[in-house]
């Protein structure tokens, strides 16, 4: 803000506090849930303050608990999820940024058609084409592999659209100046465009990492080996219990643990945000 206002800062604080209270409330519930007894949670009697079972629950979750019911230690599932999430995020960003670059800065036949071809992939949810997509993955021998987990999810119209929007705001003068300096399209991309895009890339990385991290349906279908199972599948297994006792506290604890890597990504990404801001100050 430009003006220096003594009470002017009250409004943002208020709005942000209410915002956080509402938006982060379910997360708060998950944390609270992991500290309470299963019975209290099942009977809908969970209070809003933490309980006393936190330590034993987390111990159970990390050391013994989920290892027993999902047969795969939490650590290995976290690694599976990590590889998948990073692979998807990096892959999506990489192929979208170059596509958007081409569509915005180059003139070639069927330019807009290409954009629409990429864009339409948003319009048919994976649930509808799950059988044929699975068959293709199977035919290409991608089952039970990281490629199978990552490749089919890599086409991202969202990222392409975002980059397109951003590239459209790049002033013509910048490109001209770069050309005068003797830079070709590749130099321009790496020396000028990429640094300017850092904020957007950071934001996208957070979103895409989380998207990859939280994938359920596709990994479930394409992996059969226990050591390929992701943490989200593990969580669902604890929650989705039929005919037996649901261990809510362990489920919540696993969910909280599963949120830690994405949170770490968010915190790290914030640094890039600030950096990006400084660099766009021209």
């Amino acid at each position: 803000m430009v003006e220096h206002r003594r009470f002017g800062n009250l409004l943002p604080h208020l709005v942000l506090l209410i915002g956080v209270a509402i938006v982060a409330f379910p997360v708060y519930l998950a944390v609270i849930g992991s500290t309470h007894d299963d019975v209290i949670i099942s009977n809908g009697q969970m209070p809003l303050y933490p309980g006393s079972h936190g330590l034993e629950t987390y111990w159970k979750t990390i050391i013994s608990g989920t290892g027993k019911t999902t047969r795969e230690p939490v650590g290995s599932m976290l690694i599976s999820s990590l590889i998948m999430a990073v692979g998807i995020a990096v892959g999506k960003i990489a192929i979208s940024i170059i596509s958007a670059y081409a569509v915005v800065f180059f003139s070639f036949p069927f330019r807009m058609t290409t954009f629409w071809i990429i864009f339409v992939t948003l319009m048919l949810p994976v649930e509808v084409r799950i059988f044929p997509t699975y068959k293709i993955a199977s035919d290409l021998h991608l089952l039970d592999s990281y490629s199978g987990l990552i490749l089919p999810l890599i086409a991202s119209a969202t990222a392409t659209l975002l980059f397109r929007q951003f590239f459209m705001t790049i002033p013509k003068e910048l490109v001209e100046a770069s050309k005068i300096d003797g830079a070709g399209p590749i130099r321009f991309f790496f020396d000028t465009l990429l640094p300017l895009s850092v904020t957007n890339i950071a934001a996208l990385f957070v979103i895409l990492f989380i998207y990859g991290w939280n994938q359920y349906l596709w990994p479930l279908l394409i992996t059969t080996r226990d050591d390929m199972q992701t943490i989200v599948i593990g969580i669902k297994k604890i929650i989705d219990v039929k005919d037996a006792l649901t261990e809510w506290s362990v489920a919540m604890a696993t969910a909280v643990l599963a949120m830690l890597p994405p949170v770490a990504v968010v915190v790290l990404m914030q640094r890039l945000f600030v950096k990006g801001l400084i660099e766009t100050e021209k």
Binding site: K68, L143, S145, I233, K237
Partner: protein, 438 residues
């Protein structure tokens, strides 16, 4: 030169890293299931125990999500040419599985081909009947079965001056209203609305849900449960819903906590709710058989099972079939059935196992565990109570639920709702009939 070799080696290594794991010398049999929590442990233990008894076959269980997710995975895999050997499918998926000749291998056929001793008579008819043809040939292997019972909060009943748990529907309605005074938000509630109020209700009263033995005898079945009796049930529920003497808790079982929390003193749901009740209910409770209308001749008849069975997929190798057949024999072993039943609450599938458990006095110590069995074996099943088999059952239940919800919310009369449920259901049945492989 060295660089190129290195590059090639790197490429090969990477390719290998991405390729599927190499095949084993032992015949591996994939078993896809939907079991979670402690039941997952049971599945794993069964597989490990079987694998330990011999070295030719290895059962590899994989959790593939909820029942619908597992079924979808199986369908996707079949269409891609790599179905698992064994797949656990919930009871409502039976019609879909058996209508696809070639997609599955009937269990009775499998056992006969492999020369395993297999006596259909040794199995409990109420349980296997659901998964058999009308001629009694078992199509799939019952695995985890349950029935529907009425859970009763005895402390709450005492407080409302009700002497004993209700046995008939009129008693339930009266008790619900009495309980309403002490439990204003809910006197009586239920889960699995269509299983309880349509499927179980009609079987328990020896009424048909559809023609042709509820579809067991043919795909040209038509629904016919929009009877005065069914209407009477629904009208009573609608009336009680008005002041929450009966309070609807949803289509599935997400509302079950209302019983263990003490909010709903009478709750009708699966017998498989028991492990949760044991731990979470902090009051004296019991489970009694489902209520019935005493003026209906023949009621109570017997209940229908819920749960899932194991299907053997088609197109697998002869070696795999040998292993699967041995596994099913392993599962049918009496002592193993007794162990399964006592540890997991799954109902035993053989008469011998039921008898043995009875003799051991297990039910004297755990009377609640016998209630579903008593319901299932109450009387020999009739055409109306052997089970049901309607195509597209998952969607069918959604449609029936929608209509019941409309009635309970006061949007339609009970009769109109039931008529709509039947006519919409029949449309789906005719569509399914078209696709059934002849």
């Amino acid at each position: 030169m060295a660089l190129r070799q290195f590059g090639a080696a790197a490429a090969v290594t990477t390719a290998l890293a991405f390729a599927a794991s190499p095949a084993h010398a032992v015949t591996e049999i994939q078993w896809w299931h939907a079991m979670t929590g402690p039941n997952n442990d049971v599945v794993v233990k069964l597989a490990n125990d079987f694998n330990a008894t011999q070295s030719d076959y290895k059962i590899v269980p994989s959790y593939k999500g909820s029942y619908p997710d597992t079924l979808n995975a199986g369908i996707a895999a079949f269409r891609a040419g790599n179905a698992p050997g064994i797949m656990q499918v919930f009871e409502v998926g039976t019609a879909t599985m058996m209508s696809a000749k070639g997609a599955i291998k009937p269990v009775s056929e499998l056992m006969k081909d492999q020369g395993e001793t297999f006596d259909p008579q040794s199995y409990l008819p109420a349980i296997t009947g659901y998964y058999s043809t009308s001629k009694g040939e078992m199509l799939s292997f019952p695995f985890n079965s349950s029935s529907m019972v009425l859970w009763v909060n005895l402390d709450a009943l005492k407080k409302a001056d009700i002497a004993e748990p209700p046995k008939t529907w009129p008693e339930v309605f009266a008790d619900a209203q009495k309980l309403h005074a002490t439990s204003p938000t809910c006197g009586f509630s239920s889960s699995w609305v269509t299983w309880g109020f349509i499927e179980q209700f009609n079987a328990w009263h020896n009424q048909s849900i559809g023609t042709k033995a509820n579809g067991l005898d043919g795909f040209d079945t038509t629904l016919d449960f929009n009877t005065p009796l069914e209407t009477k049930l629904l009208e009573n529920l609608v009336e009680l819903q008005k002041d929450k003497s009966y309070d609807y808790s949803g289509r599935t079982n997400t509302g079950e906590g209302r019983f263990t929390s003490g909010e709903c003193p009478l709750y009708m749901t699966s017998s498989a709710f028991y492990p949760n009740v044991k731990v979470n209910a902090k009051f004296t409770y019991t489970a009694v058989p489902m209520p019935y209308f005493p003026d209906v001749a023949g009621a109570p008849q017997n209940s229908i099972i819920g749960g899932a069975s194991l299907w053997v997929m088609g197109g697998k190798s002869a070696e795999e079939y040998k292993g699967i057949a041995r596994f099913f024999t392993f599962l049918s072993d009496t002592d193993r059935q007794v162990y399964l039943h006592e540890v997991s609450g799954y109902l035993p599938i053989t008469k011998a196992a039921y008898e043995k458990t009875k003799e051991s006095g297990f039910y004297d110590k755990n009377p609640i565990l016998e209630v579903p069995l008593k319901e299932l074996t109450n009387k020999p099943p009739t055409e109306n109570s052997r089970g049901l088999r309607f195509g597209g059952m998952v969607q069918m239940r959604d449609v029936w639920s929608e209509e019941i919800e409309a009635a309970l919310a006061g949007k339609k009369s009970a009769k109109d709702a039931l008529d709509a449920a039947v006519s919409r259901g029949n449309q789906m049945l005719r569509q399914f009939e078209r696709t059934a492989v002849k």
